[in-house]
């Protein structure tokens, strides 16, 4: 027996197995207990149980159908699953814990997360095989995302404990969101300027290159908690002895400074790589046309280096979104504050409330830059 599409087949099978063997939702009498797991067929889903036919169908398709049929039927089926599964979990939660302000909690189980994640991979795999252009693939993901957001804002998921945690911590969440974006923006922007200058310097003076990257690599090697910790003492000293600055050892300042330092290496790397891949012939031609070195830099080298530079910026920004999570330890706030609060209280829903937005933010930043880079590359 050979499979026509082994990878989608394995993913569909994995979806089914995780749905069958792991708890779909968990019911707990209050938020401090882990609760008892309920398997898919025992959860109050009503007709929703039939949704399990979707991965069954995808399994069959992967086994026998032609790849075109897999695509035409499989893509909408997988996308439907991604949208329907949270909705079904929300419905089950409404049945099991009808009062939004009651003590009982219904949380998402491992079966939910795994079967959702595997199906997302399956959708990605089908999209890859379909070989669509970038914008069409992004469009489909955005569609799925919008549907999920509609469910969120429409209240279909309000009875899940994750959303109940959100309702309880709404102010802290909004504050964390603002702080997180601030941390990333205020560190990546100066790092982009400084990194571009350093990259330019490294491209022009190859003797500086070795020493420069030795220092930047050293910073990158330091664990984030160590760098944050090392900055606490000098900044506290500065804050005490130079009053007007508004700097303290704890808070935003050391967070932004540390994130800027971390961002320097990928930014400098990206700039240097961008300048290095500019064809020598282009520079020669510009010189032949009588351009001065500034003109060559602005009109030839920088435009040609832009896509690689932007890729460096993309890597830097995604990294900064994740690293900002740790900055909460030194009081810089952000989603890390919610995550660590949940971690210390061993409350998984609170942890997820601090982790999921960060992952979503990182993916959003990544997609945004990918679209910009695709746009810039098309211009050339």
């Amino acid at each position: 027996m050979t499979w026509r599409a082994p990878v989608p087949g394995a993913l569909a099978l994995g979806t089914l197995i995780s749905l069958w063997s792991l708890p779909f939702v968990r019911f707990a009498p209050n938020r401090l207990l882990t609760g008892d797991g309920l398997a898919w067929w025992r959860a109050p889903l009503g007709l929703g149980h039939w949704a399990a036919l979707l991965p069954c169908g995808l399994l069959l398709l992967a086994w026998r159908a032609q790849s075109r049929a897999t695509r035409v039927v499989g893509l909408p089926a997988a996308a439907l699953w991604l949208v329907a599964l949270p909705w079904l979990a929300g419905m089950a939660a409404r049945q099991m814990a009808p009062e939004v302000d009651g003590l009982a909690r219904v949380s998402l189980g491992a079966g939910f997360w795994l079967s959702w994640g595997l199906m997302a991979l399956l959708l990605g795999e089908l999209l890859r095989e379909a070989a669509w252009p970038v914008w069409r693939r992004v469009l489909l993901w955005v569609g799925v995302l919008l549907a999920l957001l509609a469910e969120l804002s429409g209240g279909a998921l309000d009875h899940l404990s994750l959303l109940r945690e959100y309702a309880n911590h709404q102010d802290a969440f909004n504050l964390a969101f603002g702080q997180h974006v601030q941390l990333v923006a205020l560190s990546v922007a100066p790092a982009a300027l400084l990194g571009a200058s350093l990259g330019l310097l490294a491209a022009r003076r190859s003797r500086v290159q070795g020493a420069l990257f030795a220092v930047l690599n050293l910073i990158q090697t330091l664990p984030s908690i160590a760098l944050f910790g090392l900055l606490v003492a000098p900044l506290a000293w500065l804050g005490e002895h130079v009053p007007g600055l508004g700097i303290a050892g704890i808070g935003m300042a050391p967070g932004i400074l540390a994130l800027t330092l971390y961002s320097l290496l990928p930014m400098t790397r990206g700039t240097l790589a961008g300048l290095q891949q500019v064809p020598a012939a282009a520079v020669d031609a510009a010189r032949g046309m009588g351009m001065g070195s500034w003109q060559i830099l602005w009109q030839v080298e920088l435009p040609l280096a832009l896509p690689v530079f932007l890729t460096g910026l993309r890597i830097t920004a995604v990294q900064a979104v994740g690293l900002a999570e740790v900055a909460a330890l030194i009081g810089a706030g952000g989603f890390g504050a919610i995550m660590f609060q949940g971690l210390l209280g061993s409350a998984i829903d609170l942890v997820l409330l601090g982790v999921i937005p960060v992952v979503a933010l990182a993916i959003a930043v990544d997609l945004l830059f990918k679209l910009i880079i695709a746009g810039v590359a098309r211009h050339d």
Binding site: Q220, L222, V232, S346
Partner: protein, 257 residues
Amino acid sequence: MSRVQSALALSLLALIVLTGWLPHAGPAFALLFPDRDRLIYRQDDFADLILAHLAIVGASSLLAALLGSGVALAATRRWGLAFRPLLETLLAVSQALPPVAVLAVATPLIGFGPLPALIALFLYGLLPIAQGMLAGLDSVPEGAREVARGLGMTPAQTLWQVELPLAAPVVLAGLRTSVTINIGTAALASTVGVKTLGLPIIIGLSGFNTPYVLQGAVLVGLLALTVDLAFAALSEPLGRWRAPQPSPGEPTLAGAD
């Protein structure tokens, strides 16, 4: 001694000397922080913390190295080639996940203590290792494989005697990234009470005791630096007979956290 080797020796010496001196560094810290009475972290021995830190990083990285390279190896063989794009998607998507998030999710699910930290470090450590193995095998010139085939080598022989030795520098770079990340994440595991070098930092931060923070941060930083230099020294002879050293301009996996 090469430059890397002397830097390694220096960094190791600094780590050892500092570990021995810090318990007696009260007077020095009294100069820096005149208005404090508890200046030196004494709840644990610094040497014990370093060993505990290395143990948790070593165990998780070893397991991750075995499984991560195994998975990447499977995805580059003929029978597993179909799964390679899936593995690459997984590696790309996981870039959006900060290592500390894995730790934070694992702990409430598994319980407090070193086990969830070990599992989280192992899981996150898989990624750079698999990535390094994929990139390493990709870097093997097709010509080398053809020559091996022409010599009548079996696929297993080709793998062990040609592909893996040629891929070694890049594979080692992946392992280096994995271990560097794990040293940082292991320090963060102290937020849930795991005994590592992060403990003085966490206790210092929650008690507004800057000297504790400084002591922990310096030791963690030196430990990360020493291990990183050890990997650099290890990969030096491997790179000598082939020049795979990535140029500084090449974007690689970020090592921080």
